[in-house]
C-alpha cells in the first residue's frame, strides 16, 4: 500500500483553555478525495492550518509526504507550501489585483517565466474553472461562486500535489455548488492531485469523497467510505449525516433544570 500524503498521529491542539483536538489520528491517501466533516466550531479549518504549518500543535505529529511539518525550517516550510494549494472559505483573493493577476500571483512570485508563458498558464487555469472570460474583472465584481472558482484556479496555479478546500460549498447557490462539486472531482482526477475537503455540507462532501472523517469535540467520531458511513449504526453519525435536530447532540445547551430556573426566582 502506498504511503499517505498526510499522516496525523495523536494530534493535540488547544486554544486558550479549550481543547480543539484531543488525540486525532488521520491518514490522507494519495490521489484520493478525503472529506473532513463535523459541526461548526469543531476546528476543521484549524486542522487545515495545522497541516499547512500556519499553526503549531501542542503535541503529536503531522507528516506531509513523510516530513514532520512542525520541525521544518521556514524555507523548507515554504517549499512544502508551494506544493500545496489552499482554497479559503472567503476565497482570499487579493482585492487590489484583477482576476488574471490573482491567478498569476503565485506564478510570478515563485517563477521567472516569460510573460507570454505566464499568460498562457493563467488562461489555462482560468479555462479549467470556466472563467477565462472574466480575466479582466476585479474581485469586487465577482459573485461568491465565481470568486471561489478564481481562488481555485489560483490554488492550482503551481500544479500542486494536494489541494486543501476550506468549506468550499458554504453559502453557494445550488448551481455554483454543482459546479464546485464537479470541479473538485474532475481536477483531482485530471491533475492527479490529492484533495482534502473540509465541509459540513454532508451530501456534497460525501458525493465526491473517497473517504470521510467525522470530527466532533476534538475526537474522530467515525471514519470510512461514504457508503459505510451512511450505513453506520452509531447514533451520533446518523444524527449528523441526516441533520436531525435532537439526539446524542442535545438540542438544549447544558443548563440547570428548567423548573428550578423558572421557580428559583433569583434574578441573574
Amino acid at each position: 500500500m502506498s504511503q499517505p500524503v498526510v499522516q496525523i498521529r495523536d494530534l493535540r491542539f488547544a486554544r486558550g483553555n479549550r481543547m480543539i483536538f484531543d488525540g486525532i489520528d488521520l491518514d490522507i491517501m494519495p490521489g484520493s478525495v478525503t472529506a473532513i466533516m463535523g459541526p461548526s466550531g469543531t476546528g476543521k479549518t484549524t486542522l487545515l492550518k495545522l497541516i499547512g504549518g500556519q499553526l503549531r500543535p501542542l503535541s503529536g505529529s503531522i507528516r506531509v509526504r513523510g516530513e514532520e511539518v512542525q520541525t521544518l525550517s521556514r524555507p523548507a516550510l515554504y517549499r512544502m507550501r508551494k506544493r500545496i494549494g489552499m482554497l479559503f472559505q472567503s476565497g482570499a483573493l487579493l482585492t487590489d489585483l484583477n482576476v488574471f493577476e490573482n491567478v498569476a500571483f503565485p506564478i510570478r512570485e515563485h517563477t521567472r517565466l516569460p510573460q507570454a508563458l505566464v499568460r498562457d498558464l493563467v488562461l489555462m487555469k482560468l479555462e479549467a474553472v470556466g472563467l477565462r472570460g472574466a480575466a479582466g474583472l476585479m474581485p469586487s465584481e465577482l459573485s461568491g461562486g465565481m470568486a471561489r472558482r478564481v481562488a481555485l484556479a489560483r490554488a492550482i496555479a503551481l500544479d500542486p500535489m494536494m489541494v486543501l478546500y476550506d468549506e468550499p460549498f458554504t453559502g453557494q447557490d445550488p448551481i455554483s455548488m454543482g459546479v464546485l462539486v464537479k470541479l473538485i472531482r474532475e481536477l483531482n482526477l485530471a491533475l492527479g492531485m490529492t484533495s482534502v475537503v473540509v465541509s459540513h455540507d454532508v451530501r456534497e462532501a460525501t458525493a465526491i469523497a473517497d473517504y470521510a472523517y467525522l470530527l466532533s469535540d476534538g475526537k474522530i467520531m467515525n471514519h470510512g467510505t461514504p457508503d459505510a458511513l451512511w450505513g453506520a449504526e452509531s447514533q451520533w453519525t446518523r444524527q449528523f449525516l441526516n441533520g436531525l435536530p435532537d439526539g446524542p447532540v442535545a438540542f438544549h445547551y447544558p443548563a440547570a433544570p428548567f423548573r428550578d430556573d423558572l421557580l428559583g426566582g433569583a434574578p441573574r
Binding site: Q54, Y78, M86, A92, L94, T95
Partner: protein, 259 residues
C-alpha cells in the same frame, strides 16, 4: 481589591506582550526591507498611494499654517518695529517645528490610517493568510514596501510643507501687510542655518516617518480580524501616532536644540 490587582496585572502583561510583538514585527520588517529593493515596482506603487495622495492635504495645510504665521508674527513684531524679521520667524518655526510635526500628524491621519485599514482588511479577509499558504511572506510582500514608502515620503512631505508654509507667510507678510520683500528673504537667508535648523528638522521628520510607518503597519498587522477590530486599530494608529510624534518631538528638540 484582588480583582483590581488582577486586572491591573493583566493589562500590564497585555501591554508588554504587545510591545514585544511590535518590536519583533519591526525587526521582521527591517529584515525584509533590503529584499524589497530588488522589486522597486512594489515600492513605487506604495509611494504613490502613501506619498503622492497625501500631497494635497500637506500643501493646503502648509499654505494656511504659513499664512497664519505671517499674520500672527507680523502683529507681534510690528510692536517692536521688527516686522522685517518676519521671514526668519516663519522659516524657523516651520523648518524646526511645525513642518516636521504638523506634516507627521497629517500624515498619520491621512496615510497612516489608510495603511492600517488596508492591512487590517487584508488580514480580516484572509488575504495575508492566503499569501502565507502560497509560500509568499506577507511581511516582505505587503508590509515592507509600505513601510519603506512611509519612511521615504515623510521627510519629503515635511520639506514640502515647510516650503509651502514659507510661501504662505510671504504672501501674507509681503503681499498683504507690506513687509519689505528684500528684508524678508535676506534676513531669512542670514539667520536660518542649514545644519542647525534645516538638517535637524529633516532628522525629526525621518524619525517621525519611521515611527508613524511602524505604528500604522503594526496596528494593521496585529488588528483583530473583524470589522470592529479594524476600525479600532485605525483609531489607535492615529491616536498613538499623534502622541508619539508630539512626545518624540520634545525629546528630539531637547537633544538637538537644547544646548
Amino acid at each position: 481589591m484582588l480583582d483590581l490587582l488582577q486586572q491591573l496585572g493583566r493589562a500590564a502583561l497585555g501591554l508588554f506582550q504587545r510591545l514585544g510583538r511590535g518590536n519583533l514585527f519591526l525587526l521582521q520588517t527591517l529584515a525584509s526591507t533590503p529584499g524589497i529593493l530588488l522589486r522597486p515596482g512594489l515600492v513605487i506603487r506604495q509611494l504613490w498611494s502613501v506619498g503622492v495622495l497625501t500631497l494635497v492635504i500637506i500643501v493646503v495645510s502648509g499654505l494656511f499654517v504659513g499664512m497664519v504665521m505671517g499674520l500672527q508674527g507680523y502683529n507681534t513684531l510690528v510692536d517692536f518695529g521688527a516686522e522685517e524679521s518676519l521671514g526668519v520667524l516663519v522659516a524657523l518655526s516651520l523648518v524646526r517645528e511645525l513642518g516636521p510635526v504638523v506634516a507627521a500628524l497629517l500624515f498619520a491621519g491621512r496615510a497612516g490610517s489608510a495603511l492600517t485599514a488596508e492591512i487590517g482588511l487584508m488580514k480580516a479577509t484572509e488575504q495575508l493568510s492566503g499569501m502565507e499558504m502560497m509560500a509568499v511572506d506577507p511581511v516582505q510582500r505587503v508590509i515592507a514596501p509600505r513601510f519603506l514608502a512611509a519612511f521615504l515620503s515623510m521627510p519629503l512631505l515635511a520639506a514640502i510643507f515647510s516650503a509651502v508654509g514659507i510661501f504662505g507667510g510671504y504672501l501674507v507678510g509681503v503681499g498683504l501687510l507690506g513687509v519689505d520683500d528684500g528684508a524678508f528673504w535676506s534676513q531669512m537667508q542670514d539667520k536660518v542655518d542649514f545644519h542647525d535648523d534645516i538638517l535637524n528638522g529633516v532628522i525629526k521628520s525621518i524619525v517621525f516617518g519611521f515611527v508613524v510607518g511602524w505604528i500604522a503597519m503594526f496596528e494593521g498587522y496585529d488588528a483583530v480580524p473583524t470589522a470592529e477590530g479594524v476600525s479600532q486599530a485605525t483609531t489607535r494608529t492615529v491616536v498613538h501616532s499623534a502622541l508619539v510624534v508630539l512626545g518624540l518631538d520634545f525629546v528630539l528638540t531637547a537633544l538637538m536644540f537644547g544646548d
